[in-house]
Amino acid sequence: MTTSNPTFTPAPASSGGVTKESRGISAEQGVLYLIALLLAVLFLFPFFWTVMSSLKTVQEISKFPPVWIPEVLQWSNYARTLTIVPFALWTYNSFFVVTLSTLGTVLSASLVAYSFARFRYRGRDTIFMITLGTMMLPAQVTLIPQFILFHKLGWINTLYPLWLPAWFGGGAFAIFLLRQFILSLPKDLDEAALIDGASYFRIFWQILLPLCKAVVATIAVISFIGSWNDFVNPLIYLQLPEKFTLAVGLNYFKNQPEMGGEPTQHLLMAASVMVIIPVILLFFATQRYFVQGIVLSGIKG
């Protein structure tokens, strides 16, 4: 992992920005900038609109022609959102699920990857091929039997189905990525430690895992975002509003145009902003790992 890779540089200084050749910006570059800027506006506008809508009054939100920037920013919309629906509870549920599934993915996938990368035993390569095969399968085919399984266990309306499976290997993608990385580490490290009498688990925990930090971070971020954004699983397993995660909670809120006679459109926008913000913050903080993970998956795949 290169250390020089800048993760987030401040906005480019406009045309005055110095190029090394000090010849300013060529016409061609100007056109490219213009295209990039237009596209950036196109990509950012929906976010801008949502944030602005979340700060409007009920009157402003349904005004025509639409109000771009509310006269007085209604920050109280956010406070109202927290109380009109059990938003704090949903947030807690989401963080609970995300934390446990991310932890489970990282810990179990790295252990399994260690096994695939460093041990020789019969059936290893066959099991690894099967593991890769699961990546090709759409979730739809396992969804129904898994639902029946968790139903029989009495886990409907609990959070177990959302995080427990992550503790059993964390999925093929995480295992694959970690295995590739461990394979690239010199085997002398393990052997030296083994001769010194270290146990296999200690080699894993104290030597290999610290070296895998970057890949582990990548997997943690991808797993966090995947779990935070997951909609289908909470949708089928959770029916009681007090058990909801944010994703299904937001959908539930969307389906109530008013609550106790109080219109909720502007509050819905505030709720959406609050659902989006954690992933965006996480992305900014860990962009380097995230981008690297996607790219690795593309190149190796």
Partner: protein, 321 residues
């Protein structure tokens, strides 16, 4: 089959047990290694069996049953499949809609992503900022994405129609119109997908194109298009294949966006195949029929993937070969 004596340390020279030999071990040390290998593998072995292989077999079994979870499953043979092909009014239309959606979304996403990746590969200042901005929609949870766009596409107070009216075009009802809902979903999908993983993977592919090949082409007098067509494109063709396969699978699986934004409506105009599976299995609790639908879906996905892999021999260039 005697155990090997290790030079440095005194391993007891005894024959390894039957279990260890089954694991492929010939010596005490190897058997110890195999044992720990299995121990570390155990979580995934259980996970693979309980969450993958078991469900796949169960799903095939349920597809031949009628099963509502509460009463025991009842054998119906291939009735679920004949019902899908002949008796289900929404089976073929939902499949057709899903293809219709994918045929537009996949090529536009691929071209759009490639375009953005090329733009980002021009070494402009602030490339990182642009990359982040293009990527943001992809990070947004699908539910929030749908909620956001319901308001942007609002027929009377949404900014999309406001802009259209400003240039003299009367805006349609978008998500609330059965003629426009599909197009609206396609637009949302493009906005959300063009700058996502597909773009990042293309960008990595573009950065892997050897500079000396491009320079050589330039010396030979190749113009911009000729360089792209004859050097860049063949060099990134494996990336293109990868993105294409993932793109097709992703588009055919479209669910959350339609579920939240339109609930499959108005009048079934966005009732995609994945919604149909969901409804049959989890709204009507027809687990047997749902499993049959899911298996049909798997076969369709595998067929598409196979066709792409097979045809790729004609157009994908691997530099290593």
């Amino acid at each position: 089959m005697a155990a090997i004596t290790s030079p440095g340390r005194a391993y007891p020279q005894k024959q390894v047990g039957i279990l260890a030999r089954m694991a492929g071990a010939r010596s005490e040390m190897q058997s110890n290694e195999a044992k720990w290998g299995y121990i570390f593998l155990l979580p995934w072995l259980v996970g693979l069996l309980v969450f993958w292989i078991g469900p796949i077999i169960a799903s095939a079994y349920f597809s031949l049953m009628e099963y509502d979870v509460l009463s025991p499953p009842e054998w119906v043979g291939l009735a679920n499949f004949t019902r899908a092909f002949t008796g289900d009014k929404q089976f073929w239309p939902s499949l057709a809609r899903t293809f219709n959606y994918s045929i537009l979304v996949v090529p536009f996403t691929i071209f759009g992503s490639l375009f953005l990746a090329i733009l980002l590969n021009q070494k402009l200042k602030g490339t990182n900022v642009f990359r982040t901005i293009f990527f943001l929609p992809h990070l947004t949870p699908s539910v929030a994405l749908a909620v956001l766009w319901i308001w942007l596409f609002h027929p009377s107070i949404g900014p999309v129609n406001m802009l259209l009216e400003a240039v003299g075009i009367p805006g349609p009802g978008w998500l609330t119109s059965k003629f426009w809902a599909m197009d609206a979903l396609i637009i949302i999908s493009l906005w959300a997908g063009v700058g996502g993983n597909t773009m990042l993977i293309f960008l990595a592919g573009l950065q892997g194109v050897p500079q000396e090949l491009l320079e050589a082409a330039e010396i030979d007098g190749a113009g911009r298009w000729a360089k792209f067509r004859n050097v860049t494109l063949p060099m990134i063709s494996p990336t293109l294949l990868f993105n294409l396969i993932l793109g097709v699978i992703g588009a055919l699986k479209v669910f959350t966006l339609a579920f939240v934004a339109t609930q499959g409506g108005p009048s079934f105009s966005t009732w995609f195949y994945a919604l149909h599976i969901y409804q049959q299995a989890f709204a009507y609790f027809r687990m047997g029929y749902g499993s049959a639908l899911a298996w049909i879906f798997v076969l369709i996905l595998l067929t598409f993937t196979y066709i792409q892999l097979y045809s790729s021999k004609r157009w994908v260039y691997y530099a290593g070969e």
